[in-house]
């Protein structure tokens, strides 16, 4: 956290109580004594850690989209599916809304989230400020709820168990990649010091946004 963080007031996101911001030890969290909501935190990790996790998650996500998630075999016939084939088939069968929703939460938004993070973090790492950073960072802050890769992985496991009762089912490379990508993404979120990032941006642009 930059020097600008001191002598500043913050409002609790849970109940609007005002507090003076104090410096924290790395890894600790400031909580509101009135409602228990998290006020702010000091992250243990560096920008490089977060960046590494973002790059890792992105590479794994690309892999997850290239290989089959699962292979199903019944009486000598084999069938495997890609991440994209779910939405495609839903679309073909007349469930356009559902198809778009699944595509958005399991493919489109994860990519948006990671590419957006990369777009913001990489230039800042090398002391540049990318254009449009304020808007993109605000957007990124709201995305995680709609990035459902972790939910998808659990869904895939449920599907796997359901299928195993019918015929031989083999999890594919993608499932592993998907799982690891989801873990890396959660890690990146935890490692990212979003307050520090805002400080960095506002001190550099010279105005408080």
């Amino acid at each position: 956290m930059g020097a600008g963080m001191h002598n500043r007031l913050t409002a609790c996101p849970g109940c609007d109580a005002l507090y003076r911001v104090i410096a924290l030890d790395p890894g600790s969290v400031a909580e509101c004594p009135r409602c228990g909501e998290q006020l702010y935190r000091k992250v243990k990790f560096t920008l490089d850690d977060a960046l590494a996790l973002v790059v890792g998650a992105l590479l794994l996500l690309v892999l997850a989209n290239l290989f089959p998630i699962m292979t199903f075999e019944l009486s000598g016939r084999q069938q495997s599916n890609l991440l994209i084939s779910g939405p495609l088939d839903l679309y073909r069968e007349g469930f356009q809304g559902l198809a778009v929703w699944v595509f958005t939460t399991s493919i489109f938004l994860p990519f948006c989230y990671l590419i957006g993070l990369l777009y913001v973090l990489l230039p800042i790492r090398f002391h540049q400020t990318p254009p449009g950073v304020v808007g993109i960072l605000k957007l990124i802050d709201r995305l995680p709820a709609w990035v459902m890769l972790d939910v998808y992985v659990v869904g895939a496991l449920v599907g796997y168990v359901k299928l195993a009762a019918f015929g031989s089912t083999l999890p594919g490379v993608s499932l592993v990649a998907l799982f690891l990508s989801a873990v890396a993404m959660l890690g990146a979120r935890a490692a990212l010091d979003i307050d520090g990032l805002w400080d960095e941006i506002s001190t550099r642009s010279g105005s408080d946004g």
Binding site: G14, Q79, L82, G86, L88, A145, V161
Partner: protein, 148 residues
Amino acid sequence: MILYVPANLLPILNVVSFGRAEADTIFSGVVELAKSGDWPIAAIVFLASIAIPALKLLGLTFLLVSVQLKWHWRPRDRTKFYGIIEFIGRWSMIDVFVISMLVALIKLEQIATIEPGLAAVCFAGVVIITMLAAMSFDPRHIWDAMEG
């Protein structure tokens, strides 16, 4: 104002979500899994598809009512409760993803085909709307009543 929108939307969709026009309903899927001995998986599906949406709808309604009536009852716990509701909402999507996976995987025309039911659409709709509703609720309203 923000509170009225979810308050009006929730009960309507709640009814729709249970009108599943398909042989295999969400609940029968859970029973099936439990019968075949997959208790942990059955529990996950039950939690994600039945318990969580119900808890969310009831919980949000409870919070909205409590704010409207300006209750002073345990505001701290109610704030925490809101946090839980907001966090677990997205996990209801498990069933929709399962359907999307199975539809693409099981296409052995003669032997087995899986087609999504209308309920899947309703269900996804409920998840999206309740997530938006949870986001538009502001826990600060709980505390406004304490000060006012």
